[in-house]
C-alpha cells in the first residue's frame, strides 16, 4: 500500500527534479570543499550559503503550494510555521552553546542571563537533545496548524476570511515573540550558534552537510507532496479547491481533508525553517512578519501554483533576483521587484511553470484531439479551469 503510494509519486518531472536536487546536494558541496578557490569550478562558500537559503525558501514555497495550489487555502501565515520550526532548531543550537556563552552560564542562554533570569523556563526543557528538538521541529508547527485548522475548518471559515485570520495568527505570534518576557530572546532572537551535533556550525564541512541536507529534504518533501497530490486524496484536494460543496455532497469530510493537508504543509514549513536557521545563523521574530508570508505567496505565484516544481523555481528565481538587485541597484530594486509581481499576475497568471505546462498541454491536445472544442483563443487560457477558492 505504502509502496504504491510512493511509486505513484515518481512521475517523470518529479523524478527529474528530485534527481537534479540530489545531484546538487552532492556536487555543490564537493565543488566547494574539494576544488581550490581559484579554480574555475570552485563554488565559494558565500554562494553555497545563498543557495542553501534559497532551497529552504523553496521548501517553504512548496509547503504553501500544497495548501494553496492544491487545496485552495490561501494561507497568509505560513511564515509562522517556518519561524516556529526555526525557533525549535534555534533553541537546540542555543542549548549547545552551553557554558561557552559570554557569561559562561552552563544552563541559561546569554539573553536570559543578562535579563536576570534564574532558571530555564519549562518550555526550553529537552531542547538540548537533538532528537527531541527535531521532533519539535515537526510537532510545534504541526500542533499549531492542527488547532488552528481544527477550529477554522470546522467553522467553515473560508476564502479571504481564512487568509486574514492566518495573517492575524502570524502577526500575533510576531508581537508575542518580540516580547522579552516570552523567553525567546525578544527582537534579537536566537543567534551566535556554535555547534550542531558536535560539529562547528561555521565550519566548511558542516555548511556543506547542511546544504546537502536542504537539497535532500527538499527532494524528499517533493516526492511526498507528489505522492499526496497524485493519490485519490490529491484529487479530492483539487476537488475541494474547485468545487468545495460538490466534495461535501459526495460525502467527504472537507474539514478533515483540509486539516490533514494544512498540518502536513505546516510540518514542511517547519522543516524548512529548521534547515534555514543554522545556515543563516539567526532566527528572530522578524520571520513572523506578515510581509514575509505574503512574499512566500508571491514566490509560489511566480513559479506557478498547483504545480509542484513551480514554487521551487519561483522561490529560487525571486530570491536570486532579490540578492542580485539589492547589491546591484540598492536604491531601485523595489521597483524591479514590484514590477515583476505585477507583470507576472498580468501576463503569466499561471506562473512560469504553469504557463509552460499549459502551453505544452494545449499543443498536445491540439495534435491529439482533432475533435476538440473549436478555436479556443491560444493566448487567453480558459478562466473556468481555475475556479478560485475565494468568493
Amino acid at each position: 500500500m505504502i509502496s504504491g503510494f510512493i511509486l505513484r509519486a515518481l512521475e517523470g518531472k518529479i523524478v527529474i527534479a528530485a534527481g537534479i536536487l540530489l545531484a546538487v546536494a552532492m556536487l555543490v558541496p564537493a565543488l566547494n570543499l574539494l576544488t581550490p578557490p581559484d579554480s574555475a569550478f570552485h563554488i565559494p562558500t558565500y554562494v553555497m550559503a545563498l543557495m542553501g537559503k534559497y532551497l529552504c525558501y523553496a521548501l517553504l514555497a512548496l509547503a504553501l503550494d500544497l495548501v494553496w495550489g492544491y487545496c485552495g487555502i490561501l494561507s497568509l501565515g505560513h511564515g509562522a510555521f517556518f519561524a516556529l520550526g526555526g525557533y525549535a532548531m534555534g533553541m537546540y543550537l542555543m542549548r549547545q552553546i552551553g557554558s561557552r556563552g559570554t557569561y559562561g552560564n552552563p544552563d541559561l542562554p546569554d539573553f536570559m542571563v543578562f535579563l536576570n533570569w534564574k532558571e530555564l523556563p519549562w518550555f526550553w526543557y529537552g531542547f538540548d537533545m537533538f532528537p527531541f528538538a527535531m521532533l519539535m521541529v515537526l510537532v510545534v508547527p504541526g500542533l499549531l496548524a492542527f488547532f488552528f485548522g481544527w477550529f477554522a475548518f470546522r467553522s467553515r471559515v473560508n476564502g479571504v476570511y481564512l487568509s486574514i485570520i492566518t495573517q492575524a495568527m502570524t502577526y500575533a505570534l510576531m508581537l508575542a515573540f518580540f516580547r522579552n518576557d516570552m523567553g525567546f530572546g525578544g527582537n534579537n532572537g536566537l543567534t551566535d550558534f556554535k555547534d550542531i551535533l558536535g560539529f562547528q556550525v561555521q565550519a566548511g564541512g558542516t555548511r556543506a552537510v547542511l546544504f546537502a541536507m536542504s537539497a535532500i529534504m527538499l527532494a524528499l518533501c517533493l516526492i511526498v507532496a507528489s505522492a499526496i497530490t497524485r493519490s485519490k486524496f490529491g484529487k479530492v484536494l483539487v476537488g475541494v479547491r474547485d468545487a468545495e460543496s460538490r466534495v461535501r455532497f459526495l460525502g467527504f469530510r472537507v474539514e478533515n481533508i483540509k486539516l490533514f493537508t494544512f498540518v502536513v504543509s505546516a510540518m514542511f514549513a517547519g522543516i524548512a525553517g529548521a534547515l534555514f536557521v543554522p545556515q543563516v545563523g539567526i532566527i528572530n521574530p522578524g520571520e513572523f512578519a506578515p510581509a514575509n508570508s505574503i512574499e512566500v505567496v508571491v514566490w509560489t505565484a511566480v513559479g506557478g501554483r498547483g504545480t509542484l516544481i513551480g514554487p521551487i523555481i519561483g522561490a529560487i528565481l525571486v530570491n536570486a533576483g532579490k540578492s542580485y538587485f539589492t547589491g546591484a541597484f540598492p536604491e531601485f530594486w523595489l521597483f524591479a521587484l514590484g514590477g515583476l509581481f505585477i507583470a507576472v499576475t498580468l501576463f503569466l497568471p499561471k506562473g512560469i511553470v504553469g504557463t509552460i505546462q499549459h502551453g505544452w498541454n494545449a499543443r498536445k491536445a491540439l495534435k491529439a484531439a482533432a475533435e476538440a472544442e473549436k478555436g479556443r483563443d491560444a493566448g487567453t487560457p480558459p478562466v473556468t479551469q481555475q475556479v478560485q477558492a475565494a468568493e
Binding site: I165, L175, A301
Partner: protein, 535 residues
C-alpha cells in the same frame, strides 16, 4: 567686579530714564543674567519678581521663550526679534527699540526647565494685578500649578481687588493651595483643604499628595478623606476616559479601513496598496503645508481643509490609474489582485522614498487641532476629537453616496452582477474605475487626518494595512456598517485591555479574539445570510 561697576552705571542711567518707576530699577538685575549660570539665574528671577515692577513682564516672558539676548560688547541684556537677517534689540524694561544688530553680535541667554518654572512662578505673581482679565486668570493658574508660600500675600492682595467672579474663584483656589505650604493657622488650612477638595480632579490630587507628608498631624485625616473622595470621582472619570480613548482609537481604525471597505469590501479586491494610498494622502498634506508655509503662512489654519480635496484628487487619480492599468485585468481573480497590488505598494513606497527621502516629513497641527480642554475629570485633546468627528462624517457621507445616489446604485449593481449591469446599459468599466478611485480617494482623505497624529514617512501605510483588513473582515466584508461597528468595538476593546495587560499583550489578545470570533461567525459581525452568499 568690572561688570558690577558697569551695571551700576547702567543702573544710574536707567534710573534717570525711568524716574517715574517706584522701587529699585530691575534693569541691573536683568543685566546680571548675561553672566549667570542656571542656578544664579534662578535666584535673579526671584529677585526680579520681588521688585514687583510689572514692566519686566515682557522680558521674563521673552526669557522663558528663549528670546532674551545679551550684547557681546557690553553684556547688556535685550529682547530680540528677528528683523530680516538681523536682530532688532528691544530694551527689556522700557520696551523701546535699541537698534538692529547682526546675529553674531549678541548671545542668547540660555534657559532650562528649572528656570522656566521659576519664571512661570514669577510671572504669576507679577501679573495678578494686570488690567487684562485673561492675563489675571492665567496668572492665578500658574500659581495654582507652582504654589509657594511667598505667593500667598500677592494672591491675597489681588483677591481683595478682584471683581470678576471666575478669576476670583480661581484666585481663591490659588490662595488655598499657596496657603497649605505656608505657616498659617490650622483653621485657615482646614478651610483651604475644603476649597481644594471641591476643586477636585487630578490637580487637587497632586496638591494633596504634595502636602500630605508635610502637613500638620491634626489635618492629616482631612487630607486623607479628601484624597479618598477625589479618587472615587477619578475612577468614574477613568472609565469615561477609557471609552473616549477607545472611540478615538476606533475612529483612527475606521479612517484607515473605510477606503478598504470599498476597494476590498465592495469590489472584492485584496488591495495591499491601500496603506500606500493613505500614505499618499499624508504626503499630499505635507505638500500643501509646504506650499502654504512658503507662500501664504496666514492660511496655515486652513491647510487641512485645502489638503482634503487635494489628497482626494491625488490618491483618487493614482487609484484610477492603478485600476485601469492593472486591476481591470484581474476581476474574478481576487487572490491575484493581492499579488499585483502588493507589487504596486512596493513601487509606491519606493517612489515616495526616492522623491521625498526616507525620513519623516513634518506635518504641523493647525491651532484648532492642538491642545486639549478638560471635561470633568477627563482631558480631551482637540486633534482626537476632530478625528472622531471627521471619520464619522466621512462614513455617513459615503453611506449616503452608496445608498442614495444613482452612482451608488450603479456601483452596487456592477459589483453584484457585472454582466447583468452591463446589459442594462451601465458602463461597467467606468463604474469600476470610479469606485476604485473613490476607495483610494477616501484612503487619501484618511491620510490627511492620520498625518495629524502619526509619522509621515514612506512606512506610514504599512503600519495600518493589517489593522485595516482586520477591521473590514471583523465587521463583515461588504457591509459598511460592519466596518463602523468593527472599528469602534476593536478600538474600545483594545483600550480596556491596555491598562490591565499592557499595550503589547493587549494587541495580541485583540488579534486572538478576532481569530476566535471568526470561528463563531465565519463571515464577520454583519454577515449577509441566505443563499446568495454561497453562490
Amino acid at each position: 567686579m568690572l561688570i558690577r561697576l558697569f551695571s551700576m552705571i547702567f543702573l544710574f542711567l536707567c534710573f534717570a530714564a525711568s524716574s517715574f518707576a517706584q522701587g529699585p530699577d530691575p534693569k541691573p538685575l536683568l543685566n546680571q543674567l548675561a553672566d549667570a549660570n542656571f542656578s544664579q539665574a534662578e535666584t535673579l528671577v526671584g529677585q526680579i519678581a520681588t521688585i514687583g515692577d510689572p514692566r519686566v513682564v515682557p522680558a521674563l516672558e521673552a526669557f522663558a521663550e528663549g528670546d532674551l539676548y545679551f550684547r557681546k560688547s557690553d553684556k547688556a541684556v535685550f529682547l530680540a526679534k528677528a528683523a530680516g537677517s538681523q536682530l532688532e534689540l528691544i530694551d527689556p524694561v522700557t520696551g523701546e527699540s535699541a537698534g538692529q544688530v547682526a546675529k553674531g553680535a549678541v548671545t542668547k541667554i540660555r534657559v532650562n526647565n528649572n528656570l522656566r518654572r521659576a519664571i512661570r512662578a514669577a510671572l504669576g505673581g507679577l501679573t495678578l494685578m494686570s488690567p487684562d482679565r485673561g492675563v489675571r486668570l492665567s496668572a492665578a493658574d500658574s500659581i495654582l500649578r507652582s504654589p509657594s508660600a511667598e505667593a500667598l500675600e500677592l494672591v491675597e492682595a489681588a483677591l481683595a481687588k478682584e471683581t470678576d467672579a471666575e478669576v476670583k474663584a480661581r484666585m481663591e483656589e490659588a490662595r488655598a493651595v499657596s496657603l497649605l505650604s505656608s505657616d498659617r493657622s490650622v483653621d485657615e488650612k482646614r478651610a483651604a483643604i475644603e476649597t481644594i477638595s471641591s476643586l477636585g480632579g487630578r490637580e487637587a490630587m497632586r496638591i494633596f499628595s504634595t502636602v500630605s507628608s508635610s502637613i500638620d498631624e491634626s489635618l492629616k485625616p482631612e487630607v486623607d478623606k479628601a484624597i479618598a473622595k477625589i479618587q472615587g470621582q477619578l475612577q468614574i472619570w477613568d472609565l469615561a476616559q477609557n471609552v473616549w480613548y477607545g472611540m478615538s482609537l476606533g475612529s483612527v481604525l475606521l479612517l484607515a479601513a473605510i477606503g478598504l471597505a470599498i476597494t476590498f469590501g465592495v469590489m472584492g479586491i485584496i488591495n495591499m496598496a491601500h496603506g500606500e494610498m493613505v500614505m499618499l494622502g499624508a504626503y499630499s498634506t505635507f505638500m500643501v503645508q509646504d506650499v502654504i508655509r512658503d507662500n501664504a503662512p496666514y492660511l496655515f489654519d486652513w491647510s487641512l481643509a485645502i489638503a482634503l480635496p487635494v489628497a482626494f484628487l491625488v490618491t483618487g487619480l493614482v487609484g484610477f490609474v492603478i485600476e485601469r492599468g492593472v486591476i481591470r485585468f484581474l476581476y474574478g481573480r481576487p487572490l491575484e489582485t493581492l499579488l499585483a497590488t502588493w507589487g504596486v505598494s512596493l513601487i509606491l513606497q519606493q517612489a515616495i522614498r526616492t522623491i521625498f527621502g526616507p525620513t519623516n516629513q513634518e506635518v504641523g497641527n493647525p491651532s484648532w487641532m492642538s491642545g486639549s480642554f478638560p471635561l470633568g475629570g477627563m482631558t480631551i485633546t482637540y486633534n482626537r476629537m476632530w478625528i472622531i468627528v471627521f471619520s464619522l462624517t466621512i462614513f455617513f457621507t459615503l453611506l449616503f453616496v452608496m445608498k442614495k445616489t444613482a452612482y451608488g446604485l450603479n456601483m452596487r449593481a456592477v459589483t453584484q452582477n457585472r454582466r447583468m449591469a452591463s446589459s442594462m446599459g451601465i458602463r461597467t468599466p467606468w463604474v469600476d474605475a470610479l469606485t476604485f478611485a473613490l476607495g483610494s480617494g477616501i484612503a487619501g482623505i484618511a491620510g490627511v487626518a492620520l498625518s495629524q497624529i502619526d509619522n509621515v514617512s514612506p512606512n506610514l501605510g504599512q503600519s495600518y494595512i493589517i489593522d485595516s483588513f482586520m477591521v473590514v473582515v471583523f465587521g463583515g466584508v461588504g457591509n459598511l456598517w460592519g466596518t463602523l461597528v468593527g472599528a469602534l468595538s476593536l478600538g474600545i476593546l483594545n483600550k480596556f485591555l491596555e491598562p490591565s495587560v499592557g499595550a503589547v499583550l493587549g494587541k495580541i489578545l485583540v488579534l486572538v479574539l478576532i481569530i476566535l470570533f471568526i470561528q463563531k461567525r465565519p463571515r464577520g459581525l454583519f454577515a449577509l445570510k441566505g443563499r446568495a452568499v454561497e453562490a
